[in-house]
Symmetry: C2
DNA sequence: ACCTTACGGATTGCATACAATTTGTCAACC
DNA sequence: GGTTGACAAATTGTATGCAATCCGTAAGGT
């Protein structure tokens, strides 16, 4: 069945936001919304018709998703979705927390104090103005700055990769994920304070607590969004 | 050079050993051996001629290397190598150690004791027969089993990814990396003993020590192999 | 003289055609 | 009747051609 109710909503103007990116988002969307389930095979030509592109961007999208750990590629045997339910999302946050805790530890005593002041000011302003729409920008910037201050670009790269992955999930289930930014501002302030106090373990613990709460919110949103998401 | 006719006439089966894998290994080899340096742009068509393939497998190879964090892709701006010297290799091992320590912690009290006995027997047999040629198989199997026993497939997947990355490095610099397996057997036995004793922190510490030694060996081999490898 | 803008070359991104491999099916054989 | 072999359909991997985009250059206007 390929009734394609959503295939390139803007009609033939899908090139506007790029071909591969559309396929990546579309496949991710379908997986999170339960249109596909873990273990399902992805036929390249069907996906190409589904998104109104050729097989080339589909193949590249599958390679990108394989790099993100969302699909699995088998030589000459096609691609299959990996399961992606609450359990998998918690696993993702577990790895992310591991990476970011270590980055926070390493960033202590290395991060530029001026950056801390700058981020702190931004958070306070955000809390006062209640500008929730742009909160995610400051959120990602904070995590990015801490990761970069770890002195390990490889670690920072992995953190960025997981940030992108979580961002992709957020974009799909964003309808029920608007409220978390206000609550996470307090967590962010706590992390910055511990960094200013040069307490590596306390800062890492604050980061861990922050991500634990973020994981709870994300899992709740996923369960609310993926109506039919049932894992094997 | 490439005066190879490549007679791409549809009738000629000049495919050497063709494909994406060759390009991936070739680019990795060139980067580790210093033929390319961090920051160098990769022109798709040049790489295609260099490896006697078309642009398609080159593009897919670049996507795969981007997933491994070896190159960086920029929209409509080509791909550039990321630096890969001793510092970067140590960063890789730092992340790998972080992941495998956590997996070891989680695997304690979860791993099947029978697997431990089986791995232990294999290691003892390996130590007695001095069969160094097949040591890396048991090495990878041990790490894989521990990762799988963590109960977090996402974590296990990241560990496998880093195992593949390190394996790629080993294949390039293997000439000077033959001796490490005998030394690492003792480390492996130590890890298994701590797992059998159900001591999460001790097992994680043993894994950390093992990977620290592996990192030293790998960095030494890279410095010996990459004659002209100089980072910015 | 400096800045703006139009053009040319080169490179990436996508679409399509072909070759190679895998998988499913059916018939012949043990 | 079960198993194995080959054949056919489908799918993946690769090659090539074309369109879109970006960078460098040079000409023209203020």
């Amino acid at each position: 069945m390929k009734s394609a109710p959503q295939s390139s909503a803007p009609g033939s103007n899908a090139r506007a936001s790029g071909g591969k990116a559309v396929v990546v988002r579309g496949l991710m969307h379908g997986l999170l919304r339960g249109h596909w389930r873990g273990g399902d095979r992805i036929a390249e030509i069907q996906a190409a018709e589904r998104f109104d592109v050729s097989r080339t961007p589909v193949r590249e999208a599958l390679l990108e998703l394989a790099g993100l750990g969302v699909v699995e590629l088998r030589r000459n045997c096609g691609a299959v979705f990996l399961p992606f339910g609450p359990k998998e999302l918690r696993d993702i946050y577990a790895v992310r927390s591991l990476l970011e805790e270590e980055a926070t530890r390493l960033a202590t005593n290395r991060i530029d104090p001026e950056l801390l002041v700058q981020l702190h000011g931004g958070l306070v302003m955000l809390r006062e103005t209640q500008a929730e729409d742009s909160g995610w920008r400051l959120d990602r910037r904070l995590h990015s700055v801490i990761a970069a201050a770890s002195g390990n670009p490889r670690l920072a790269g992995e953190i960025a990769r997981y940030g992108d992955l979580v961002q992709s999930v957020r974009e799909v289930v964003s309808d029920t994920l608007r409220h978390i930014h206000s609550t996470s501002t307090a967590d962010h302030l706590r992390i910055l304070e511990e960094l200013q106090a040069c307490s590596p373990e306390a800062a890492a613990a604050a980061m861990k607590a922050h991500l634990a709460q973020a994981a709870d919110s994300a899992v709740a949103a996923l369960e609310a969004a993926g109506t039919g998401t049932r894992e094997v």
